[in-house]
Symmetry: C2
Subunit: 147 residues, 2 copies
DNA sequence: TTGAATGCAAAACATTTGCATATAC
DNA sequence: GTATATGCAAATGTTTTGCATTCAA
């Protein structure tokens, strides 16, 4: 019995598809497998190329649509930020950002941990730190009340 | 004497322009002012609209070019990630990402602080946390050696 | 059978680039 | 005067959408 971990995940994916009334398609399974098996945090086009041999006629837009559904099923997530556009800041006092998924607002939050992260990365020799970007996604107090 | 803080910053901007052999233009000053004065982390189009009345003929691409130069001068920075494309991950074990600015590689790094951030945000009532995204930008050990 | 997923083509959107003109120095 | 920045237009690159067809349930 090989790939137990992957097989477990694939069963989980099938289960979640069923719960969400989504169909289990070859494309969804192959795209998920490709992400699971890669350590390179692939983008849509990379995934498209890596599954072409298994799903010859697959289209790039199917990859995009599949990524969105896998994301909604909480089977994959994006490594970059959720923001569609670049947004800018001139405030260099160390702070983090709270991105509200409801109102799309970005709030500055001040945490004690940004410097800690920098220290920890340096100390562990993981790389030379230029800056630390802590993004917290969630629902802000204003939106919490609303339905 | 009003706007001392802003004026200081504008002087700093002029100084850095001179050092970098960049010209001090009305567009650069106005775009910087608009970012400095806004708490909303504006995007390029928002900035474009907010300076139109002061620089009537300004073009959107000038805003983009100016944002790039302000970024290079370390007068502003982007709130979202540096990644041009969305990249995906299927690994839900709590981890952070080290983005190397040289090789463009994304490395998983395991820090003790992700959970701390979540706890701190919840405790302070800043919002309901869905997930914490810690991105560290820098230069990875592999690239550190190279020129 | 039937509604959801796919493939194809075209559109949408943010961002970038080429080039002639305007402008800071 | 000269090199850089700008404005305009067109291009680029990623992602999304409309629609007819295919396919999982």
């Amino acid at each position: 019995m090989q790939n137990t971990e992957l097989n477990k995940k694939l069963e989980e994916l099938k289960l979640r598809c069923k719960k969400a009334n989504l169909r289990v398609t070859k494309q969804r399974l192959e795209i998920y497998k490709a992400i699971f098996e890669s350590k390179a945090h692939p983008d849509a086009e990379t995934l498209y190329n890596s599954i072409k041999n298994k799903v010859p006629n697959v289209a790039l837009d199917t990859v995009y649509r599949t990524l969105t559904s896998l994301e909604n099923l909480n089977m994959v997530f994006r490594v970059d930020s959720l923001l569609a556009k670049a947004r800018f800041d001139a405030d260099y006092t160390p702070h983090s950002h709270f991105l509200c998924t409801k109102c799309n607002e970005i709030y500055d939050i001040f945490l004690i941990t940004a410097q800690d992260v920098k220290n920890e990365v340096q100390k562990k020799g993981l790389g030379e730190v230029v800056d630390v970007n802590i993004q917290v996604r969630g629902i802000c107090p204003k939106c919490s009340g609303k339905n």
